[in-house]
Amino acid sequence: MSGTNAGVVVVGGGQAGFSVVQALRGAGYEGPVTVFADEPRLPYQRPPLSKKAHTEPEGPGVDLVPESFYRERDIELRLGEYVAALDTAACAVTTGSGERVPYEHLVLATGARNRPLPVPGAELAGVHALRSLDDALAIGRALTTARDVVVVGGGFIGLELAQVAQAGGARVTVVELADRLLSRAVSPQLEEHLRERHERDGVRILTGTAVERIEGTGGQVHRVATSQGPLPADLVLYGVGAVPRDELAREAGLAVDDGVIVDEQLRSVSDPRVFAVGDCARYPHPHADGLIRLESVQNAIDQGALIGRRIAGGAAGPYESLPWFWSDQGPVKLQIAGLRATTDEVRVVPGDTPERLATYAFRDERLVAVETLNWPAEHLAARRLLQQDPPVSPADLAGSTLGALARARRTKEVRA
């Protein structure tokens, strides 16, 4: 059943799903719009969850928009409802309670779930991962009494949480298996500076260290056994990566490989009526060597907005937004523009104050990615320049910052 008034069904009420429906109505789409969101609360932002301690039972005001937004735009928001199956031949989804809902266009915006911690003791009380607002509230409450906190995983969420715990007065140790922090996400040059700053703030960091088991007394965590010896712990927070929630697509027979595989239009390569956006989508990007899957707000918003406009009839063309990311780790604001997967030269550029730093990564004599610490203006300049032609060469930046170069190019444009 695929009548034209079956409208758009979005599975997932997170950042990407919200962006889809906002753009649909913003671009004048008039058909029915339904969002299935299995969490029983209004769609909210995740980044604030790991950047401060949340303790208020009603939630810390992270909703994307109030309920009236959906009502005024005639968006049917089905909170607390799970989509259990997808029938692409019939163009319908089936909810957890067995209801069948037809669609003309389907958007999968199911996000990701945390990778479980594969060690004995991970189920003890006092061991937490963070993905949802409920998780954040549980961690916030635990932090009010915690004294010894062990953070397993030196990734973005781990480091953000380490700073939150540290600021709350706990003794914090980060345990990371790789020999450096954020090993896939940032350059070794930046990592060195970042690590130094965390250590200066009193966060203890053990890299090249494996967590072997978590030990408890009376069901409550009290110690973490690591390859470097035991660490006392009354709270263990772990962030060891996320996996895309692509099971609906897989069970429906769509192509899936660590994410729903889509083309440059963000359409499933197996079915043109199905789109996938945000954390759950694996897609081609003009700056990437193969298919990529990104877990970032920018990616979720831009992909969602493109699909919303496309379904409404407005947008054509491939998805090619420049990727960018930020992470606030206590007093450190880290930002990344571009994709730094393979680069052949990384230049470290001191900022105009001691807290600031940038790295410029080049590949084949062109700038491809820029990392900054506490330097948002340089980050924004990078975003401008990475989208301009001609590309920025190492010579363009001899003795100059991106900020200075972007200002100079802009003045030239205005004069021309």
């Binding site: 980044p47 994307l64 928009v65 707000v297 918003i301 203006a377 924004l380 401008r384 900020g403």
Partner: protein
């Protein structure tokens, strides 16, 4: 509670009630005013919440802070003397009747 008027590039106006103690960006986003993207959620990280404060209200609103000032050089739409990042503008009763203009582009 102060009323703030957002004027879109095509001249249409959206009148919204803003809560004192929050920021201007929040008033726009919670009321679904188009043209303020606010990707970073108000963290002074993205410059996608750029606005032009109406000349009549420039003094009440005041100048940008240091980090904001630097960031304003790199907004998608041109910077003007009245440019602000709306997530850095605190709403107060004194701003009742404020008019802000939304630029053509944010990203």
């Amino acid at each position: 509670m102060p009323i703030v008027i957002f004027e879109l590039p095509d001249g249409t106006q959206r009148k919204v009630t803003a809560d004192s103690g929050t920021v201007l960006m929040q008033a726009a986003v919670s009321n679904g005013v188009d043209g303020i993207v606010a990707e970073c959620g108000g963290n002074a990280s993205c410059a996608t919440c750029h606005v032009y404060v109406d000349e009549r209200h420039g003094e009440q609103v005041g100048p940008p802070n240091d980090v904001e000032d630097e960031m304003l050089d790199f907004t998608a739409a041109e910077r003007r003397p009245t440019s602000r990042l709306s997530c850095q503008v605190q709403v107060s009763d004194a701003l009742d009747g404020l008019v802000v203009h939304i630029p053509e582009e944010q990203v």
